[in-house]
């Protein structure tokens, strides 16, 4: 079971924070297929956020096929987001390491590299491609 932490100062909508924290837990393997998410009541009692927000987040996760609600039992993880390719000792990671070394040799600072990576990632995501639809804002 995981616990959600809502950052009140952040401009990110609370429902999106729940979705993102669940996705991250799935990516890191903290949540696995068959695990139960806390009930909406448990979440609102612990975080004091609006119940509709929690229900919206769970609907969103269900729509993405990550969890399923079983009547009277709770909400369960259906699909994991953990990818073997994103672990530390893979080929992709090694290539990224090489690229980072070249970027540093070219005189880029940490922030420059991070900005460059993010902008390239944004460009990639902006390009049309068969992919599950992203969350609307």
């Amino acid at each position: 079971m995981i616990e959600f932490r809502i950052d009140r100062g952040s401009g990110v909508a609370a429902y999106l924070q729940i979705v993102q924290q669940t996705e991250q837990a799935l990516r890191m393997g903290v949540l696995r297929v068959g695990d139960r998410l806390p009930t909406a009541r448990e979440v609102v009692e612990a975080t004091a956020i609006n119940p509709n927000t929690v229900l919206k987040a769970y609907r969103e996760l269900e729509r993405a096929g990550l969890v399923e609600a079983r009547r009277g039992l709770g909400t369960f993880v259906r699909r994991s987001l953990a990818r073997p390719e994103s672990e530390t000792d893979t080929a992709l990671r090694a290539e990224l390491g090489d690229w980072l070394a070249r970027a540093r040799d070219a005189g880029l600072e940490r922030e420059d590299i991070s900005a460059l990576f993010t902008s390239a990632l944004d460009a990639l995501e902006a390009a049309p491609r068969a992919h599950p639809p992203q969350k609307d804002t």
């Binding site: 956020i49 609006n50 119940p51």
Partner: protein, 325 residues
């Protein structure tokens, strides 16, 4: 889920929902006005108020001290009668038996008998109410680890607030009104109290209106906002929509100020402003933009109000918040 044509056993789940007109707003004001009379003369505490708070929502009632928040609660619960216009609870005019049965009010001063134990208090109030939910009320007290045998006078502020909430919820209201419930609570207890309140909303299909000065606490709890200014409704709407239709901008103070600025201030060469964008999110000009929190939106509108007051001149300076603490 669609309405089932034949009666099914599960339909009995929410007794209070059945009594109310399904689409009626939880709280509605039509041309509502109230005028106080005192030795100093008559003063309008509320005037020309027109709003409809949707059922099933948690509305934050925000405004400076003296804006008319408590008066509005008193009108909704028939503790005061409107000077003009009307206020309705689930479509029933305040003061009618239907309206009284549908609404519970948690007043700021939480009138409780200090010598009674918690259990005696619950029993006393249960005798005054036909549709009393004793288990529900006791559960709220228990969730706060308050012994039923404790005398009310020995409880902390947070515990007394919880007992008052239990008394209000025991009446099975469809609409719960809370006047500054968080004012005298420390942050930990505030969070706990709001957690309990949110769980009640989820369990009972409850509509809530709560007034508060603690803006960060309502950020993610309230999904609807009613902002009162000088007895008038200044802003009313869905919280997400308000966030989406406003933008924070930052830039050079010598640039021409864009349209629809709610509130702006300059420090040195920098100008910071809250702008109403009407949903596009874009502001013409050379500005760094940021999406605001609900608190940013409310503060902007509250400050806009303060500036307008100052320029009006002659008005007494409003009491500083927290002065009583």
């Amino acid at each position: 889920m669609s309405e089932s044509p034949s009666p099914t056993p599960q339909a009995a789940a929410t007794p209070q929902a059945a009594a109310a007109t399904p689409q009626a707003p939880a709280l509605r004001a039509r041309g509502l006005g109230f005028r106080f009379r005192s030795r100093a003369g008559a003063r309008w505490a509320l005037r020309d108020c027109e709003f409809a708070l949707p059922a099933g929502r948690i509305t934050a009632l925000v405004g400076p001290n003296g804006a008319g928040k408590t008066t509005l609660f008193h009108l909704a619960t028939d503790l005061l009668r409107p000077t003009e216009g009307a206020v309705e609870v689930f479509g029933h005019t305040a003061g009618t038996p239907e309206a009284r049965g549908g609404v519970a009010f948690l007043a700021q001063d939480k009138p409780l008998y200090p010598r009674y134990t918690v259990e005696e208090t619950l029993r006393l109030v249960s005798r005054l109410n036909k549709r009393w939910d004793h288990k529900g009320a006791e559960d709220i007290v228990r969730a706060g680890d308050i012994p039923l045998s404790a005398r009310v006078g020995t409880l902390s502020g947070g515990e007394r607030t919880r007992v008052a909430l239990a008394l209000a919820m025991g009446r099975r209201p469809g609409l719960l009104l809370l006047d500054e419930p968080l004012a005298d609570l420390d942050p930990l207890v505030r969070e706990e109290f709001m957690g309990t309140l949110m769980a009640e909303v989820l369990d009972r299909e409850l509509s809530v209106v709560l007034s508060s000065h603690v803006l960060p606490d309502i950020e993610h709890s309230c999904d609807y906002v009613l902002l009162l200014k000088d007895g008038h409704i200044h802003l009313a709407g869905d919280a997400d929509e308000l966030r989406a239709t406003h933008t924070l901008i930052k830039g050079r103070a010598d640039h021409p100020v864009p349209d629809h600025v709610v509130h702006a201030r300059t420090s040195g060469r920098q100008l910071t402003a809250l702008v109403r964008t009407g949903g596009s999110g874009t502001v013409p000009g050379d500005w760094a933009t940021e999406s605001p929190t609900l608190e940013d939106v409310l503060l902007g509108h509250l400050r806009a109000h303060a500036t307008a007051d100052a320029s009006a001149a002659g008005t007494a300076p409003s009491t500083a918040e927290g002065a009583a603490a």
